[in-house]
């Protein structure tokens, strides 16, 4: 039985969920397409590893840590000029994806690096002894052995991205979190806010369940 108030705001809720999916979806793409390579590069540049370079590692490490330590609301505001530069506007769902993608990249880069650190050193040694190229080492050895951790990390990241996306209302990004604040909190429809929170809890539970199931299934260690 769907509560009346949800039926009443059905169209707005669906639209808000769609906006959340767009923001989080683009962040996931950015995390995989840019965060994973950065995490891999960080791993390879660590002292004692095959591309060891203390200066490159330290510089990249500071950048990733700085982005991650920014209070997210301040990062959104701080990035407004940059967002305007690349999207043409600092307002709206598309503009909201910029700060969200940047935090997603930094967040997942760190988690990817941690997952790669769990790969036994011996596997890397075996790869080199077999004459593997850098590309082979990354794709045929490291990602194969770290895949479960990488999926776990991505699942954790997606849950964080959903959480981050709830404050994108400050730049007109919309989304389900913004809907809950505007209708539920600011218009005193507490029941509506609670229903939206329940929707978000269900969403996070589903993502966590799917992520954990996949990670377990592909882990043969």
């Amino acid at each position: 039985m769907i509560p009346d108030i949800l039926t009443q705001y059905q169209a707005e809720i669906i639209e808000a969920i769609g906006e959340t999916f767009v923001m989080v979806g683009i962040s996931i793409v950015a995390a995989i397409a840019i965060g994973l390579p950065i995490g891999t590069f960080l791993y390879l540049c660590r002292v004692g590893n095959i591309m060891a370079n203390r200066w490159v590692y330290s510089s990249l490490n500071v950048i990733v840590n700085t982005i991650r330590s920014f209070p997210f609301l301040l990062l959104v505001v701080f990035l407004i000029p940059f967002t305007r530069l690349i999207i043409g506007t600092a307002i709206g769902t598309a503009a909201a994806t910029v700060p969200l993608s940047i935090i997603a990249i930094a967040h997942y880069a760190r988690l990817a690096e941690q997952s790669l650190l769990d790969v036994p050193k011996g596997v890397l040694e075996a790869a080199i002894s077999m004459g593997a190229s850098l590309k082979d080492i990354i794709f045929k050895f490291l990602y194969v052995e770290a895949r479960s951790g990488l999926v776990f990390g991505l699942t954790t990241s997606i849950v964080s991205f959903i959480s981050y996306s709830t404050i994108m209302g400050v730049v007109g990004g919309g989304g389900i979190g913004d809907f809950a604040i505007r209708y539920g909190y600011q218009q005193f429809k507490t029941d509506l806010m609670l229903y939206v929170i329940v929707i978000m809890i269900i969403l996070v539970q589903v993502i966590q369940f799917v992520g954990t199931t996949i990670a377990r299934k592909i882990d043969k260690r």
Binding site: G122, S129, M130, G131, S133, V144, E145, R147, S148, I218
Partner: protein, 245 residues
Amino acid sequence: MIKLRNISKSYAQHQVIKSVDLSIGKGEIYGIIGESGAGKSTLLRIMNVLERPDQGEVEVNGQLLTALTGAELRRARQSIGMIFQQFNLLANKTVLDNVMIPLQLVKAPRQAQRARAMECLDFVGLAHAANKYPAQLSGGQKQRVAIARALANEPQVLLCDEPTSALDAGTTSEILAVLDNVNKTLGVTVVIVSHELEVIRSICNALAVMADGEIYDTLTITPKGITQLDKSPQSLVDKLTKEGS
């Protein structure tokens, strides 16, 4: 087959290999023995330039490995097999997929990869375990898979870094029998690094004794005992000679 000339290697201030010369002939099963920290594993890893020496030359199959560029060295390594104490198999790949990796690296045709990998697994007696994962195997079986993987590209040399140190006595003999078979049947030159006297004595026909980064002595092993011991021995050599005679 393998020639090391004036090899030295240091980590920070510590010199682990000191001007070592060594020559290993084609078809030999050559042992390198020494106590922990003697530098024997480092010396083995220098043979395929997994560790690059600070000084000296490494020649394998007539190729001067220390003079090769990155891509050339990778190609050269594809014909030098190596196995490790901890097996170093990919836990997320099946036994068959593990053995197929070296063939994928040389871009062998897909069908040929499978056939060759099965042939190697059959050679080590593990064809029946092709679809299992390493976690489902015993230590000895894992090492046999590692040997099959190292043989996939038909190497002329097999480097073994403490291949039985993680195994019990029964499994050790099983692995040594496989390595002996690799040498006798396929004609592969086998180099074994070990701190276990019995391992070296039971399989090798020549050996080098290492201590403190240097080769103290090189010896040959015959059914009559150990000969050519002509330098001042230290405790390990004493023990080896006493037990061998």
